[in-house]
Structures are given as C-alpha cells and as structure tokens.
Symmetry: C2
C-alpha cells in the first residue's frame, strides 16, 4: 500500500499542462520534505486519505487545541519578490504561537496551498518551507491539499493556509483566569510585521520595496526585505516559562495589534496600561509610518510595532521569569482594572 | 473572559467598509450557528485564540485522523447561482468521508473562508451551512478563520476550506491490509458530482445552467441545480458496517474518479475490475458528456459517475453487509491480482 501522499495525483498536473519531468523532481522533493517531518507518532503505510497520528500517552486528562490560519496578503509581496519559501515558516510559526498561548505543545500540521494554476515549483517551495518549520518545531506534517482554482484566484497569486493541532493537560491550560490587577506585562520582540497588517503595508510600500528600510543605512536591508522578515516562533522562549508554571496569560500580537489581542487574554473586568517607548521599535514601522503618514493610533491597531508576544506574570515572579526565559523580556506595562488598553507616555 | 470567537474582530469589518448594523446581525447569527455545534467535549470560556476539545476517554490506544480539503471550483457555480449555503455541507461531508474511510469518527472541524472583500452576508451563509452539517454529524465547529485577501482572489469569488480531526482505536483503523483477490466491490450512490470535476463541468455547462438537466423532462431540475447537488455524507450507511467489522477497505470516490481513488485503498499488488452499467448513472453525467462530447475514459477519470463510496468486502460477508447497511449497495466489481482498474463491458 502506498505511503500517504497529501498532494494531488500526477494526472492532475498532466491535465494542467505541467512539464511532468520537471514536476516529478519537484514532487519527489515535496514527498521527501513532508516525510522529513514525521515523528514516531505518525502511522505510515496505513491508508492514504487522511493523516494518522497516534496520541501521546504522557498527558493526563488531555485537551486538544486546534487553530486554522493563513498568512494574509504577505503572500502577494512574497510572490512579487520571488521569495515564497518563507511563507511556510510564517504559517507554521503563526499557528504554533496561536496554540502556545493556551499552553499547548504542537503535535501535527496540515497545509492548504491554492492558486489559479498549479505551479509545482512554487508549491514545492512553499511546502518545503512549511516542512522546514515543522521539523524545527517537532511538528509532523501529516496532510495537506493543493488546489487549482482557475477564476477564483488572481493569476500568479497564491493562498497559504494551515491547521495545527496540539495537546495540553486540562490543568495546564493557560486561560488567564488567574490574572489580577497589577500583574506585569512582559514583551518578547517580534522583529517585524510577522504576518499582519500587510494590506496596509503593501499599499504604503508600493514602489518603495527596493529602497533601504533605514534611509540612514543605504547598504542595509530594503523595505521589501524588512517586510518579509519571518513570523517568529515563540516556542523556545515560552516553553521553559510554561514548564515552570510562571505564566498567568499569554497574548500573541497578531491582526489588531496589542489593543486587538491583549484584552482577549485577560478576564473581562481587566485591561492594560502600555508604556510608550518601553521596547525597541523596528525601523520598518517608522519607515511605513513616515511613507504613509499614518497616525500613531492606527499604527497601534494594525501592527505589532515590535512586540510579538506578551507574557502576563505575577509581580513577585518577574525575576524568576527573566531568569528562566532564554531571551530579553521588556517590561511594557501592567494589568489594571477596567476594560481595554491605554497608552502611557514614557518617562 | 469572552467566549471563543473564530471570526475576525468587528474592527476588521469596519475597516472594510462593511455596514456594521447589518453585519452585527450576521455576526450574531454566525456566533449562534457556531455554538449550536458544540458537543460536551468543547471547553468553553477558556482562552480565545484556539479551539479546545477534551479528548473522549472511550477509545483504547487512540489514533487521531486528520484531513484538510476544499470544495474546488464548485464555489464559482454556487456564487454565480447565489446558493453558497450548500458549500458548507459539501465541505463538511467531504472531510467526514475522507476520515471515515480509515474508520475514524469525527470529533471537530475548523473552517477557512476567504475572498477579496469581506461580505459578511456571504460568510454567514457559508458558515451557517458548515454549522448545519457539523450539527447533523455531531462534529463540533471549534475554530475558523475569515480572510480578506484583496488582489489574491478574483472579485466576488470565495474559497472554502476545512480541516477535520477524528479518532479511531489503533486496532480499528481501516487500512486495506486484509484485502484479497476476489473480494467484492459494493458501491454507494453519490447522486451527483459531489465536489469533484467542477472545472471541466463548468466549462461544459457554461451558458446551459438554466436548461433542464434531462431534456426529456423540461419541468425537472436545471443543469445548474443538478451540478450543485450536495456532497453526501456516508456516515449513516457506513457506521453500522464499521461497527460490525464488515469492512476490509473503503474508497471515497473524489477527484480522479474510481481509477484515481480505488487503487489507493488496495494493497499494492491488487487492482480492480469494474462492471460497466452495474449501477444507475445520474442523468447529469450523461448531459455533461453529450454537451462536452467527452470520451468515456475521460468521464471515468474526472467524475464519480454515480458511485460516491466503495466498500470492499469478503465474498462470504456480502449478505450480512447488505443486511446491515441501511441503503442499497450495488455490486460494481471485484478485486483482482495486478495493479489498476479495468472496466468490463456489462452483460
């Protein structure tokens, strides 16, 4: 019985007029990339319509945590600049972070890549990037679908979507219920836009992609390169904190920025004060703001502005949190009574 | 803490220029529809970034089975004919069937609906259809994403993608390993195209959608209506067979027809003989074949031609299989030595 193959049959490529000799090479690469992610829990050689994953037995009272997401119109910039491989890690990291905030460790992943016409070279690059990120995170890529949708997608454009499933013991679910006023907000750096705000960013950056992102450093990275900076995974810094039980809540700063995401991680009667200027702001945001003449309020509600993940910790735990976390944490504010997010002018 | 809400924040709709009063009604409908699918295993009020599902404890040595799929360009016809709600059940049923063939019972579902511009009315219809089908199948809709991708999607078009996760005991995985030459192929009726072959079907049907699908029955359904016939779920007929241990292998007849799907369910050294004319062929296929002057070989490799699911059974079990299955099973052929699918002229 053939191994599980998540891609369309060869005949689909032939029907689409794809060069089969070239596509066989790419298909072989896809298969090898996918299989490189398999963990011992993947059941191979069994069936071929859906991915099989034997459940780890080491979690008491297990809860599955699942999330589906795409990378938004970052795809358009990646396609335009010929750098689609990075979309794979953008996608996987986004999904890993989305279940990490509930305390879950990822088990497996499924992808969906669609376009108007099958371009097996592009698909191999995207799936290769997904596989790279899955392997690095210890996540098995157990399924996927490649769809050819003429007339639904604009010519040359792609959509890249993923679903992650993870596991957490019921007692270890991070749900923010223990959060109290006065708790400290500690931020991890995003390094860039991650995968959010691209519709605005692209409209601002259009025609300026080749210019240096930092006008004072003409030999530095271009604006286009800065925009494509990868969506980080926060597994490495957060895993030790979760294991040590030092986390009261976590907020993944995605679409909607801090005001759009932090409140969802807090109990209904609590909000947050954020201190302006309490973390380094990547130059790409300043460049976008200047080029687009964007008000600071709008910047905050569209972009992460440099903080990709917020850890909510007890004031008494902050020292231990810092000692346990393998990278810098910025104290960006605190939890306060009342709903919503207020910005305080820095001292 | 707010309940889990898988849809975009209200601000995203406001930013997209959506009428918020109308959209609030639709959003409320989406929320109610999604919550109507919740089973006792869904953990509510905990976190908000990913769906939480407590694992049923009644399966020994549990294996998770997952599958991602879309409904292909059936979306285009549904949009053109203003009947997008059916896409929801198409999607859920396709996914349910894809893991059913491995013996799995579905636990939860996540959806992804994307378009160039958010149209909350369309999204509410699609998600409503997904929720209807999930509720009927006992599957919890625990997450989803609605993406606005200007420039990626053609104006007015949508993509509709879903991921299903199910469970099966390791000993109950249907993997075809017990299949032997001489085993009998029993077919369940599809009733129509399900969700495959739509790129070809649409190109043939273009301009004829309003004509009767059966020229001899001018007051009967139109070709467009026949094409949109729902993708069936095969849970009801198959569940009793699986519980009775009467199934050696199952093939969900999707893209690629019987030749593209049945061999994947059989051990490598075995193939199948299919008897032409051994089941009723829905008139929609004859109409497409006549309109498009399509050769029978191509019809077989693109469409299911009326058989949506194939049960492989021991010859000695056939009587019990028929007695156990709540709907008619057509004897469409048998398993034979050698690879591939051969068609035999009917007697």
């Amino acid at each position: 019985m053939e191994d599980f193959d998540p891609r369309p049959p060869r005949s689909a490529y032939a029907a689409a007029g794809v060069d089969l000799a070239a596509s066989d090479v790419a298909m072989e690469r896809i298969r090898a990339d996918v299989e490189s992610t398999y963990t011992p829990h993947v059941l191979r050689g069994l069936g071929s319509f859906g991915g099989l994953f034997s459940l780890p037995g080491d979690v008491r009272d297990p809860v599955l945590v699942a999330s589906t997401d795409g990378v938004g119109t970052k795809t358009r910039l990646a396609v335009a600049l010929g750098r689609v491989r990075g979309l794979g890690s953008d996608l996987v990291h986004h999904c890993v972070n989305d279940i990490l905030v509930q305390g879950a460790r990822p088990l497996f992943f499924l992808d969906y890549v669609a376009s108007a016409r099958l371009d097996v070279g592009v698909i191999a690059e995207v799936v290769g990037g997904i596989a790279d990120a899955c392997r690095a995170e210890g996540v098995a890529l157990i399924g996927g679908e490649t769809a050819e949708m003429p007339g639904v997608y604009a010519p040359g454009e792609i959509d890249v979507v993923g679903t992650i499933v993870g596991i957490v013991g019921r007692d270890a679910v991070i749900d923010g219920t223990g959060v109290q006023g006065g708790d400290v907000l500690l931020g991890l750096e995003s390094g860039g836009l991650q995968t959010n705000g691209f519709s605005l960013a692209r409209s601002i950056a259009s025609g300026h992609e080749g210019e240096p992102v930092d006008p004072s450093d003409p030999s530095g990275p271009t604006l286009g390169e800065a925009l494509l900076a990868p969506h980080r995974s926060f597994s490495a810094p957060l895993r030790p904190l979760l294991e040590a039980g030092l986390v009261r809540a976590l907020a993944h700063v995605t679409g909607g920025g801090i005001p759009g995401n932090l409140p969802r991680a807090l109990p209904g009667e609590l909000g947050a004060e954020i201190e302006e200027g309490s973390w380094p702001r990547p130059v790409v945001f300043d460049r976008l703001q200047a080029l687009g003449e964007i008000a600071e309020d709008e910047m905050r509600s569209v972009f992460n502005l440099g903080i990709g993940m917020i850890v909510v910790a007890r004031p008494g735990d902050v020292e231990r949190v810092r000692a346990t976390c393998p990278e810098p944490l910025h104290t960006i504010g605190r939890v306060v009574p009342g709903e919503g997010v207020r910005y305080l002018r820095g001292g």
